[in-house]
Amino acid sequence: MNNRALGRLLGWMLGAAAILIVGLHGAQAQPPQLPADLHWQTNDSDPIFADPAAQRGGRFRSFMQSFPPTLRLVGPDANSGFVSYLRQNNLALVNMHPDTLNPIPELATHWAFDPDGKTVYFKLDPEARWSDGVPVTADDYLFTLEFMRSKYIVAPWYNNYYTEIITGVVKYDDHTIAVREASAKPPNELLFDVAISPTPRHFHKLDEHWVEDYNWRIEPNTGPYAIDSIRKGKYVEFKRKADWWGNDKKYFRYRFNPDYIRIKVIRDLNIAYNYFSKGELDSFPLVMPRLWYQKAQGSPYEHGYIGKIKFYNDVPQPVLGMFLNEDDPILADRNVRYALAHAMNFDKVLTTVLRGDYERKQTQNEGYGDYTNRTIRARPFDLQKADEYLNKAGWTRRGPDGIRVKDGQRLSLRISYSSDDHTPRLVVLKEEARKAGIELNLQLLDATAAYKQVMEKKHQIAWMGWQGGGIAPTYWEFYHSVNAHKPQTNNITNTDNKAMDEKIIAYRDATDKATRVRLAHELEQMVFDDGAYIPSYKIPYTREGFWRWLKMPPQHATRSSDLVFDPMGATGGLFWIDEEEKSRVQKARITGESFEPINIVDERWRVRP
């Protein structure tokens, strides 16, 4: 959970450095005229994923490990973990159906594609309202562009994104707009890219004081929940909007059921777990084996007061693993990189300290449907092969401590990481790598220092992850040579390969899906051949503990759910609180009465290798 949040945070921050500079086509001067022959599309035929039996009401209690430094969505310090609650209530024009992955209406009811492959037209839902009752109109989308481009928000990433990628918003009337992107893309990718969120024009006053003035102001939003009360340093409470405009929309019905969502600050994970086991929190993420096997045991589980669910999902997997810096003199040799991959005993890590719970990741991009190259298999632990490659690279002799030496230099590599929870995993890898004559020095840094080191490309091996996402994998920011050998870009392996550059550009420019899929497969193979990324593991599921009074739809969650008991967001809001059950359970806790224990394993969306 933490790792994911961090990955997402890093992803956002790093994205800033990875934006292509494209020629800017500003808004045209002629009066906007909607093209006549547009083919309007919508989607009201996909199945709903909520449960009509859901009951509204109650208070859902969750936690966060630190209090947010601001309530702004953008600007300094806005990238804390808390911001996702705000973003989830800041709806977009369209969203993705979490099971079918088709587009579904959100703030727009219909959309149409322009033949240029860069522009999408939207018909806005006239019923959409801000929290304060003001209707959402085309002007709020125009304002998004103005707002995100403003230097007053002190958000360079957004400034850049809404200038270089989202190049224009055109208003045709109050409820019809077009959004344009810089380069042509296949329709589905384009649609989700340009599905921006509106910004309430009537709320913001953009000037040099905006950052301070709006730090603690509650911005009107379009989603089901709005912040109701705050105690600084203690909690933030959201309240369900009783007359929310989306209540009866097909894909919003029966969702977002609790009346209140209270997010309490609990700074220590172990203490938070104690709160949960005492019934002070309703659900708790148990992905880490330590929590699932050691903590989540005993009487409340045996009595059936607390249930456990393991839910397999099918989403783009975060890119976890080791990133080798090719600018390092030792790692510049491809043979050393291959040898290192063969010296990493991930199987042992997976079957022992991770208790066989995680799965070996095979290649960088997994979970992207057709785009995933399923033929690639990660290099296995094989001392014979490691030995061959190291001999080929000239590391033939072993020193008195069993570590290989070449020209007086020891084969000693530094691995930088930032989570103490990962130390046991790395300790096992270190001990096993010694067998190949490689010394790994563990360098545990705090998150900011690790991020800084990697961004300045001063690492040798970075143990980290990138949050996956989108429809298709991206390669340009990670492997194109324009991003190599310089700080603050995502090419942290400093990969510099002309053949790969050409293919990356071809992939970016291709607009039909078949070509893109073929190029993605070829690129993935090149990433493998380069050997600068050593895949570690993936977690194709979420595991949570929950009190018996939380009820779920029969299908529990969706294909895209990161979290089963997610109160908000595109995949969330499916569960509800059964107040009668709650009082029964509370009574039973006093009398000692038992229920049937709950142990759910849902493999409906499990991807078998």
Partner: protein, 352 residues
């Protein structure tokens, strides 16, 4: 009287015999000394390297030697020999080959992971994990002992550095007095207000500290308290008649400080030593606990304590480190009390 080959004066002799008569402190000192001595040869007691290997009529002593690859003993791998497996193999084969392992056949870095059990493993005699294993499957006893060696070594070195600087500067402040004294007082007042822990945290967030950097940082901020005692003691001694007498017969400043004043002020210093050692151990453990100490996987008490409090279900982790820490700190405190009493001037001086 000659003690430890040194000529000692009667006062010291009296102090020593008084210290010996304080049974609790004396036995604590012996016990702690024994523990330190044992930890210095920990490789012979707790190690995954064999003590002796007898293979094809050759004798091998791997403990303090270079890594012996498996090929040395007819194995098919080039990495360090797995002596536990070798021992089982030799025992099964019979013949003249044999391996003698230390009583605890695990190193503090070795992960003992089994396919059917997940770490941490509870204490067991059978698996030779007398105190169980930690969350990575490493032997807790091994990590405790090697961690103790690191902690006590760190603490003693820290003591030498801090006292070296503190006593030197304090003594000079007292002896020279005047502007030097005034100037240094102000410097020390400012310096001692810098919070050491934050400095270490800041440094640790930029470069991960090693043993020596940590030692130097802590010494750089820890020497100040000693100066006040030394300054006062030196002022007092300087005014005594014997110093005047030494000066009268033409002794130089250096000689007076080193031969006359220092030996007479040393009792002040000695009484602080045990408490400084305890403080050093506690400080290092605290830093390790917070994650700003020695880099992983260095065996350390603070790191074990952190694991223990994070995994309270595995009670053997936290209990072994807490017991060990309490034991050592209690011993040190007992010694400290005894030294303080032995050096108490009220017992030594008779007013007439």
């Amino acid at each position: 009287m000659i003690m430890f080959g040194l000529r000692v004066n009667p006062v010291t002799r009296r102090r020593w015999s008084r210290f010996r008569s304080l049974r609790r402190g004396y036995w604590s000192a012996l016990l702690l000394g024994a523990l330190i001595a044992l930890s210095l040869v920990a490789e012979l007691l707790i190690n995954n390297r064999a003590l002796i290997v007898h293979y094809q009529d050759h004798w091998y002593f791997p403990t303090y030697a270079d890594v012996m690859p498996g090929t040395t003993f007819g194995q098919d791998y080039a990495y360090e020999t797995d002596y536990k497996a070798l021992r089982r193999q030799f025992a099964a084969e019979g013949g003249g080959n044999w391996v003698l392992m230390p009583p605890i056949p695990y190193s503090p870095f070795e992960t003992d992971l089994r396919a059917d059990q997940f770490p941490p493993l509870p204490p067991s005699l059978e698996g030779r994990h007398l105190l169980g294993t930690d969350t990575t499957g490493r032997d807790i006893l091994a990590r405790l002992v090697y961690g103790f060696r690191t902690a006590i070594g760190f603490s003693l070195l820290l003591l030498v550095l801090e006292y070296g600087i503190g006593v030197g500067i304090g003594c000079l402040m007292g002896f020279w007095g005047g502007g030097f004294d005034l100037g240094f007082q102000r410097i020390i007042e400012v310096w001692s207000n810098i919070p050491t822990l934050y400095v270490i945290m800041i440094v640790a967030s930029i470069v991960p500290p090693g043993f020596w950097t940590l030692l130097l940082i802590m010494a750089a901020f820890g020497w100040t308290s000693m100066t006040w005692y030394m300054r006062t003691a030196t002022y007092k001694e300087k005014a005594r008649d014997y110093v005047m007498a030494a000066r009268a017969i033409g002794a130089g400043g250096g000689r007076i400080v080193l031969r006359h004043i220092l030996p007479n002020t040393v009792s002040t210093v000695v009484t602080f030593i045990p408490f400084s050692i305890a403080a050093g151990i506690a400080a290092l453990s605290a830093l390790d606990y917070l994650g700003f100490g020695l880099p992983p996987p260095t065996p350390s008490w603070g790191e074990l304590l952190k694991q223990g409090t994070d995994n309270l279900e595995s009670l053997w982790i936290v209990s072994s480190v807490v017991v060990a820490m309490t034991l050592v700190l209690t011993l040190v405190t007992f010694i400290g009390e005894a030294i303080r009493e032995a050096f108490d001037p009220k017992v030594q001086i008779h007013y007439e």
